[in-house]
């Protein structure tokens, strides 16, 4: 479990396993039932980077309360008129960071990408690429995407799919009960409105493209402890939450175990099996043209035995005699 990507994402450990995860684009998704912000706060607490937070939905004062000790700047998108102005502000911020803090790594957080696209349309996709291009090795972009917030495009393009393709890492944060309901494990217990944004636990589904191009899939849970009025996450296996929420979780685990080897001849409309009698008859059958039964020394000899039929014209002459080499 200590090799889990989620632990690496939250705590920054196992850098060797996930070399390319500290650059590129992260699509951090959440739903109305469960916010991704607690995960993001922990990412920020555990990494000494410089953060530029683009506040489209959230207020700078919210980040002041949540990540007070981190080194960051908030840019209020509301105060700017174009994406170019926003990009220029981000570049100025990065330059200032190098000068004042000398922190190598910069992380740009956009909260939220839904609202930015709603306002500026497809130009935002180019804008994201331009941010990344400022310095590919030293910049990571985290896009907060709300799954339940519809983005209507004029030609019905699936914006989420486009963003997912642009991203190296896709993380979906779900409410534990909703996750179990989607799996069909918790059908009788509906999630109550008051259970929204749980500060107890949650489940993450991760898709990460490794440096080699191989895709890593992971589903991992986290539990939260409140310390000094801050939500502190620890990564746990999903089974721990199954024990907590699903009374008959053991039955579910039994159902999930791989069953005995499947018999391919079962449930067919025709018979593929042989009875003992049929097997004996088959073994006794003398096959024409096959001398294996008579002569055991012929294995690997490569000789061809030709028995001409009565009607065959057998010619002893060399068929290649007329070739002139």
């Amino acid at each position: 479990m200590n090799k889990s990507f989620l632990e690496h994402f939250i705590f920054g450990i196992n850098q060797n396993l996930y070399k390319n995860s500290s650059n590129g684009i992260v699509l951090l998704q959440d739903t109305l039932a469960q916010t991704c912000k607690y995960l993001l706060h922990n990412f920020i607490y555990n990494r000494d980077y410089y953060y530029t937070i683009i506040c489209v939905d959230s207020l700078p004062l919210y980040w002041n309360k949540s990540i007070e000790r981190a080194k960051y700047t908030c840019i209020e998108e509301n105060n700017l008129n174009t994406l170019q102005e926003l990009l220029d502000n981000i570049k100025d911020n990065i330059k200032r960071n190098k000068k004042e803090n000398a922190l190598i790594k910069n992380v740009i957080i956009i909260d939220s990408i839904n609202s930015l696209i709603r306002k500026y349309g497809y130009n935002v996709l180019n804008f994201i690429k331009q941010i990344n291009e400022i310095n590919k090795d030293e910049i990571q972009t985290i896009l907060i995407y709300h799954q339940d917030y519809p983005i209507k495009t004029s030609d019905d393009i699936n914006i989420k799919a486009v963003l997912a393709n642009m991203s190296t890492t896709n993380i979906l944060v779900e409410h534990t009960k909703k996750y179990f309901q989607n799996q069909g494990w918790l059908q009788d217990m509906d999630m109550d409105i008051i259970e929204r944004n749980s500060i107890s636990d949650g489940i993450c589904s991760i898709l990460h493209e490794k440096e080699s191009g191989k895709m890593l899939r992971e589903e991992m849970a986290y539990s939260i402890k409140i310390e000094n009025n801050k939500p502190i996450l620890s990564v746990i296996p999903i089974i721990d939450l199954m024990k907590k929420y699903i009374p008959n979780y053991q039955t579910l685990l039994e159902d999930k175990k791989p069953s005995k080897k499947v018999d391919p001849t079962k449930n067919l409309t025709f018979n593929l099996n042989l009875t003992e009698e049929e097997k004996q008859t088959k073994d006794q059958l003398e096959l024409p043209y096959l001398n294996v039964q008579e002569n055991d020394n012929t294995v690997g000899s490569g000789e061809i035995y030709f028995d001409p039929e009565l009607d065959d014209e057998f010619d002893d002459d060399d068929p290649d005699a007329d070739l002139d080499f």
């Binding site: 959230s58 207020l59 709603r118 917030y149 409105i193 008051i194 944004n197």
Partner: protein
Amino acid sequence: MYAPIDNVLPNQNGKSILIADTIFADAAFLVNHFLSKSIKNKDGNVILISFTSNYTQYESIQKKMGNNLKLYKDTEKLNFIDANLISTEKNNISLDALYTRIKNILGETSFESTTLILDDITHLVYIEYPMNEILDFEYKCRNICKKYNCDLVVKIHKDVCETSDADSISINHKQLLNYLINSYEYIIEINELESGYTDDIQGQLSFARGVSCTQYDFNPRLYHYKINENPAFSKFYAKGLIEGTI
């Protein structure tokens, strides 16, 4: 009168509260409750922006709650702004002008705590006010309330559109609703009873944690309620409990 629900939300100033109701479970009683609470607070004042109701409606309900709004009208204590005629046409009130007025009032107030109430923001979607301007206005109000440590209470309907509706009003309504739910600290939802109808209970009232809530000792709660004409006789019950029965 509404003592059981008064203690659910933290007492400190600077909260953002979203009230989401339905056609069959109206939250007008909650808006009036927050209005009454602010009026009764001697250190506080209120800016009430009404997009749908007129002043006399609030006046008559507040009278039953023990508040004489006539004493406060056009004073610093109660700033009532009738935004029923809001539109993008010239010579009508625009959201920009409304925001400027709010900013001026907050800048000049001598009260310690102010409550800004927007009742009901869905109206802007119905009149097809440009979405970007609605969101811009809402963000600026939320921002300025945070800066001046004021409470912001916004009411929205949540059941106008079906999920499959493809017209622009339904899409904008859903966008606005989800945007607000993703931005506020406390979400109060009023719903009909899950399990049918009864004379003793009108609906249920949920207090949930919003995305931007940083008070981790806040306990989400669910109540069943019955509102009486005389608010003193309104009742709130924890779910499953009703006087005399379990």
